[in-house]
Subunit: 237 residues, 2 copies
């Protein structure tokens, strides 16, 4: 029987540039009241601490809206929509999101945080350090908080993955009546990021969560590009 | 410390029209190997069994694509996009999804399942029966599997809610550096639906999941319209 448990990792301090994020997470996980990590746990790590550790902070004049706007445009490969102050862009990674993912909240005043340059690499680095220090192989998801069309509210999605599937393809699997299903590609990495957000919240200072009990079939080599729909297949740009 | 546990409810048989779905779920939860429901558990129930129990099944000629297409158009208030066989529509509820939510998988051959007419009411009915039979007040989410623009793969979202927030508003809450946050409205009902999907899968025959450990602040009167962005605020229709 499938059963998931999800909790926030305690004891991770405010992250600064040059911090060895993987080492900090590895140590926090060793000292967790919930006990050590086990094989096939999934670590969900918020983009913000990854960006901070990787020094993706740029000075910004918070009093000048133009300063933020220029940064957003500089980080975009394409403007998808614009209305008033709201800018929806496509990033170099292929993500479509507000403000190119440029973030001002939970950042030291006078700075903005940019998305990691290669968020799969950020995830792999954490995974490698956990393997070396904690002796277990885990999946790692870097998560960020995105809006979406048509529905109110934000949800967390995956922006970088290592060792865990982005999309699980159930095409051809018989449904519960024994017939072949049409198409069911489940975006498990996004669902895992959303599930983890529920224990992290926005202001709780918990930037890493553990998901235990994930399906063994989801653990494999992976790239975030699995989750990015090619422009020519997309009906909404 | 926040900690969520999520599992699928065992022992729910194939549902047919006229089945008393609330009673069936209430009984399955009483006999669960994980023990009885407790106050503030959240039940996530897939749309398909709700539609079946409510008799939202219509005959369809599976060999004739036109038969499906007519049904999709009849269930739509507006066609949002169309390319080849793919039709994205707006439903009476305000949901924007493929095929007006008309579903052929896991349905008896020759039939299609339509969305519940009033999915909040479906959720409330289940919640009331659980309160009467199991003696606990739970939140109920009716979930369905939707695609989204820009990203590959489907995720589960909420299409009906009772007693649990759709969107939790963190606007004005200080961030972890003590400053006031800009805007963070989290779509917790969608994140809960996605989390539950991870233990239900598509072909596993587990149509109900329990989420235990949700934030007490999320339990309140609610309507799915919280999650539907008004057309005039939407940039993508």
């Amino acid at each position: 029987m499938s059963r998931l448990t999800i909790w926030g990792v305690e004891g991770i301090k405010e992250i600064s540039p040059q911090d060895q994020l993987g080492e900090i997470i590895a140590e926090a996980c060793r000292n967790e009241p919930n006990g050590p990590l086990v094989e096939n746990d999934i670590l969900v790590v918020t983009q913000k601490i990854v960006s901070k550790a990787e020094g993706r902070l740029v000075p910004i004049d918070a009093a000048d809206p133009l300063s933020h706007k220029q940064l957003v445009e500089q980080e975009a490969v394409r403007i998808v929509r614009r209305r008033g102050d709201l800018i929806i862009t496509e990033t170099r990674h292929g993500f479509i999101c507000a403000n190119s993912g440029v973030d001002l909240s939970n950042i030291e005043k006078g700075y903005a945080a940019l998305l990691p340059i290669d968020s799969d690499k950020s995830a792999r680095r954490i995974r490698d350090i956990i393997r070396a220090r904690n002796g277990v192989t885990v999946g790692v998801i870097i998560s960020d908080t995105f809006g979406r069309p048509w529905r109110n509210g934000l949800t967390d999605v995956a922006i970088g993955i290592a060792g865990v599937a982005g999309v699980v393809d159930l095409r051809g699997t018989p449904d519960s009546l024994g017939r072949i299903m049409q198409v069911t590609e489940v975006a498990v990495a996004d669902e895992l990021a959303s599930a983890a957000e529920l224990v992290m919240g926005k202001s709780s200072g918990i930037p890493v969560a553990v998901v235990r009990g994930a399906d063994k079939d989801w653990f494999r080599d992976s790239k975030i590009s699995e989750l990015v729909r090619p422009a020519q297949e997309d009906l909404f740009r």
